[in-house]
Amino acid sequence: MKQRVQPRTLFICLTFLCLLAVWLSLALGPVSLPLTDILRAGLRLLGMPIDRTGLEQAELILGQIRLPRTLLGLAVGAVLALSGVAMQGLFRNPLADPGLVGVASGAALGAAVAIVGGAWLGGIPEWFAPYLLSLCAFIGGLGVTALVYRLGRRNGQTDVATMLLAGIAMTALGGSAVGLFTYLADDATLRTLTFWNLGSLNGASYERLWPLLLVALGVTLWLPRRAQALNALLLGESEARHLGIDVEGLKRELVFCTALGVGAAVAAAGLIGFIGLVVPHLVRLVAGPDHRVLLPASLLAGGTLLLFADLVARLALAPAELPIGIVTAFIGAPFFLFLLVRRGR
């Protein structure tokens, strides 16, 4: 058997990479900030009494732009990666991905309904708008996950091929509905909508961050408690039942966590594909499929990878900025094809 990396080594490496990504994400941009400024401004933002001279600009850039953006990137990446692990466990297939089974497009549809419908209705309190968006994205994601899962069931077994095909159909359906909303939208809403569909961490604000951080925290605390049950589920649903696992309850939790996580991530940063597929795969290649390692490692790796992707999006065509969904798809789609080819051998 191929030698696996010890979990301790893996976590040390991932933590180091994660810190590196956070540092670069805070430091790089139109104005580069030296590490000392970042640390001093960061301490000031935490309320430490540090001399402000020469720090005004750094504090403004960090506090208003780069810190929320970095936190958003970490949370979105982590939640998408965890949702990927949950989906792959639920469908007992390493190629399941929140984007492939239509969850993300369901969430995007929910977001479109909230954006366009909200603009139509008007009179929605300013403070409530981000939450309405998260709520609708969540309901959209949950609805599609439940539907795809139901369609993929045959005689008590989950038929993965049917499920993937149902996911494609739901993605197309969601896409056409989003298209309809795009057609109906006025100029301002159109801009917002287009931005969702490509995905971006641009314009991160604390209002958009809160619901996502809460969800990320919840999913992060909840899923690892089910690590052993997920391991057993990979044997098969009836095998897991014979090992004393409450399989129906577990599946409900996984669907709920995925819908919640993807819904919140899509609401906060739009459609960012392939993180949920690529990250768990990379971790499994390195450390094996045990969910007790896979879940926390995917959490770290997801946040890290998304920050690096965001750096590419920000710096590749500077001063212009690529939507991050384009970057992740550009890396993720060939990786997916590579996995398909490798599996065939």
Binding site: M1, R92, P94, L234, L243, G244, P289
Partner: protein, 255 residues
């Protein structure tokens, strides 16, 4: 210990099992034989609670299956399905270790039990391998080790249900597997095993249930069940039955 009374089972509108009674006692290996479609796997499904009977009931240690909390039941009842579809690169040790999930007996003890179960299934040499790199027969033995580990050491009160555990095995491992099952029962476990090979059943089982179109054709010792008349009636084959020259159990020879 498993008690079945008046069990009937429907799949769709067809009745696949009708009026089955049986009593699986500690220390006993009960073989289930019958042609394809006789209801063997349906019976196993009903015995482990996967399929709900339309009539009758199944009692595990005097208590209805559905009334057992999942984990407590898993400590007493283990099931080996015909095929398993594990598509992830767990090591053999991890797969067998999953059998210890219902117990919480600690890492050290679990590791000893995994080793003992793998040795019993003659798969200890595979312990470091990736499950995905194994052949069909090796996988079958690893899953056998997993269910043995789940009930280890197989004392009285443990019930093991096996669906064709020898279907992918070479002749040697057909015997080592059933020998492992036999010694499990000798320590007090109750075992029900679906088999296709009449001679293996005759050698290792204490009792045999012969199923025919969902009904019990006979339930008795191998010598009483495996008669030319019964095998002709149920399987439609002509056989000679003689005593094994060394061991004395029935030996079935097709004509």
């Amino acid at each position: 210990m498993l008690e079945v009374k008046g069990l009937s089972l429907k799949r769709g509108s067809t009745e696949v099992l009708h009026g089955i009674d049986l009593h699986l006692r500690p220390g006993q290996v009960l073989g289930v034989l019958g042609p394809n479609g006789a209801g063997k796997s349906s019976l196993l499904g009903a015995l482990c609670g996967e399929l709900a009977p339309s009539q009758g009931h199944v009692l595990l240690q005097g208590r209805a299956l559905a009334h057992w909390p999942g984990q407590e039941r898993a400590r007493r009842l283990a099931v080996l399905p015909q095929v398993s579809s594990l598509g992830f690169a767990f090591s053999v040790e991890e797969v067998v270790g999953l059998g210890r999930l219902p117990h919480g007996s600690g890492q050290q003890r679990d590791r000893e039990i995994v080793e003992a179960a793998l040795k019993a299934a003659d798969a200890w040499h595979l312990v470091e391998r990736s499950y995905l790199a194994l052949s069909g027969g090796e996988r079958q033995r690893v899953h056998l080790a997993r269910v043995l580990a789940q009930l280890w050491p197989g004392e009285e009160g443990a019930t093991l249900l096996l669906d064709e555990p020898t279907s992918a095995l070479d002749p040697l491992h057909q015997h080592t597997t059933l020998q492992a099952v036999r010694s499990f029962a000798d320590r007090g476990a109750a075992v029900l095993v679906i088999l296709h090979d009449l001679n293996l059943a005759a050698r290792y089982c204490d009792a045999i249930l012969l199923l025919e179109q969902g009904r019990s054709h006979a339930l008795d010792t191998p010598a009483r069940v495996l008669t030319p008349q019964a095998l002709k009636a149920v399987f439609g084959i002509d056989v000679l039955v003689q005593a094994h020259p060394e061991r004395g159990h029935p030996l079935i020879i097709t004509r």
